[in-house]
């Protein structure tokens, strides 16, 4: 083994080693990236929701969705837990109230319009994208229907049209087009109690904090979505612990794109170093030489 080869192997080995040991480590949690623009958001105060389903009705109309299976004023839907569907972008569910059993809690669910969405970091054609205004917008023309966004979304919000030959992924649009026209999202406009409050996310967080501060006994001291998965555009207030009203409380505060960043950083390094390394070993073990019989491989062993 000549010196040149040895140093070469050493360098390659070292870089390979750092890659394996450090390359896949995830970056530290980023709670709120200050570089993010001032997105619009929504504050859902579950203590104010009366379960009237006006938001569902308004959403249905604004997005021109097919008529519901059960009319919007029928309370029987609350008997069973409901999930959003390809044609139902938001649903209100009823939960028992552990603090005040006479007054059940109503909680609406829809896409959270994350600050750094898992769905967008999953999508290979950028069909899911966080717009600078705030909504996570689905560009249906680009989508190839791989459903990786569904695998990735921590809230299971993208829904797929399994029964169509030309299916799309569907979810709450945060009324992106209405927002661009300067209008409020349809649900926020329809909500009679202000349980669904539209505004700039930063201001909404301030409002939420004020409400907790002024009514410390009424609310649990947590704003769901302030830090979860790196922060979500829609944030929630509650009077009971969030796991009692159907929220996942074990998601952590690391934004989902961070989970794959380490791996993606490693890719160009491998692409550059691996071939050089392999070629080096290959040549040190044998070479193609022009001999009397023509080109042939000469092996060192």
């Amino acid at each position: 083994m000549d010196i040149r080869r040895r140093t070469f192997l050493k360098i390659a080995g070292l870089t390979g080693g750092t890659l394996v040991s450090g390359g896949f480590k995830n970056a530290q949690a980023v709670i709120q990236d200050p570089s993010l623009p001032d997105f619009s958001g929504m504050l859902i105060d579950t203590t104010m929701c009366i379960g009237c389903r006006s938001c569902e009705a308004a959403c249905n109309e604004a997005n021109k969705l097919p008529p519901p299976k059960v009319p919007f004023d029928d309370e029987s839907v609350f008997e069973k837990y409901r999930d959003t569907e390809p044609d139902v972008y938001t649903v209100v569910n009823r939960y028992p109230n552990s603090k005040d059993p006479k007054n059940p809690i109503f909680v609406r669910r829809q896409c959270m319009h994350c600050n750094q969405p898992a769905c967008a970091s999953a999508c290979l054609v950028k069909a899911m994208e966080k717009t600078k205004e705030g909504p996570v917008f689905y560009n249906k023309e680009k989508c190839m229907g791989c459903r990786y966004c569904m695998v990735a979304c921590p809230f299971d919000m993208p829904k797929f049209e399994y029964n169509k030959a030309m299916p799309y992924v569907r979810k709450c649009t945060f009324c992106y087009l209405r927002q661009k026209e300067g209008k409020k999202p349809a649900c926020a406009e329809a909500c009679p109690t202000g349980a669904t409050l539209f505004g700039k996310r930063k201001e909404l967080i301030e409002i939420a904090k004020t409400r907790i501060y002024q009514n410390p006994d009424k609310y649990v001291h947590h704003i769901y979505g302030e830090a979860e998965v790196g922060g979500t555009g829609w944030v929630y207030l509650s009077s009971v612990p969030f796991e009692q009203i159907g929220f996942k409380t074990d998601l952590g505060t690391v934004a989902y794109p961070e989970l794959t960043k380490g791996f993606l950083y490693g890719v160009p390094i491998v692409l550059l170093l691996w071939p050089t390394f392999l070629l080096g070993i290959s040549y040190s073990n044998g070479e193609r030489k022009n001999t009397k019989e023509g080109w042939k491989d000469v092996y060192s062993r």
């Binding site: 950028k126 990786y148 695998v151 797929f160 399994y162 030959a165 998601l251 952590g252 691996w274």
Partner: protein, 406 residues
Amino acid sequence: MFIQDNSIIMDVKKTFTFILSEIKPKGKVFTPFNVISGAIILLGIILIIFRFAKGLGAVTNLSQEYPWGLWIGFDVVTGVAFAGGAYVLTFMVYVLRMEKYHPIVRVTVLNGFLAYVFYAGALLLDLGRPWNVINPIIGNSFGVNSILFLVAWHFMLYMIAEFIEFSPAIAEWLGLERIRKVLNSLTLGAVIFGITLSTLHQSGLGALFLLAKGKIHPLWYSEFIPILFFVSSIFAGLSMVILEGTISQRVFKDKISPEHRASHDEIVIGLGKVAAGSMFVYFFMKVLEIIHGGEWNLLFTPAGYWYLVELCGLVLIPCIIYAKGVRDGSTKLLRVASILTIIGIIVNRLNISIIAFKWDAPVRYYPSWMEIEITLAVIFAEIWVFRWIVNRMPVLNEHPFEKDIG
């Protein structure tokens, strides 16, 4: 130059008629294998038409809860691990220059190539809007931060690399001596490119599941999934090479030269050694990962028992059998080990993509019979194409370098 023109046209014509004559089946058509597999493929085609007409829901049990099922979990994720033999073998032969393994390089590369074409091709069945699959390629939309983007590109490039690696065999079959020489000179480049791509997309397939944090049971979810996928693809691929080699030795008996047959045992033992080594590394990493994640207590739950079945029964035990087979020079033991390992890989990949995925969901996903049927159809179609090629091209019976020298 000009005089040659005519002869080139003649060449093309000759090649063309030759290909036409080769398309006809060789040997008996109505063997039991052909009849059964033919029926399965036919039914598969009908179901595929049905799937495209009516949507995925008509043939699969996929749901909003389980967006990925058997076609991704088995066909793509597992199939690609088994195709790993090609990059491991080309690494041994062209990079480490272990000449001993040369006789099986071609067949392994062919197997790998077809596996990608068919299993990664099965991905198209699973896409809701497959015609948009060109989007990430033609660049009208680059989701460069997506692992799936990376994997998709690497699949495509790797198929090209493997095709180049295999192409000299096609040139030999067609008798195109000059072209063969050119293609042959591309081999090393393609091999190195191919190994690099494989390193990245074998681990990339695992990295896909990094985003499913919280949905995969903590025993299986780990930030080291990419490395675990990569290491396990080494012995997954090698075990497949050993098993396929055993079958080929019987089915294509007349195609294999006596010297090759004699050296086959030695090759299998060598491969077994590498498999045992990589399995031990893998086992060790898995154990470290559990200690690192502090998940000991989870081992004593039903999911934990299942995990132990996978880790001890289908990794550690076959690893020991491999080691014993190598020491005793027993190809029989090695074959047993390869089968156990293959089952282990299937279990592992299905665990991560389906079984441990949403392990606590109230309604579980089970593949429909139609999903299984179509998967079988894909496998048999691959075997048909493989057989067609092996019966015609110099895949099993030739030692390309001897020809090079001569």
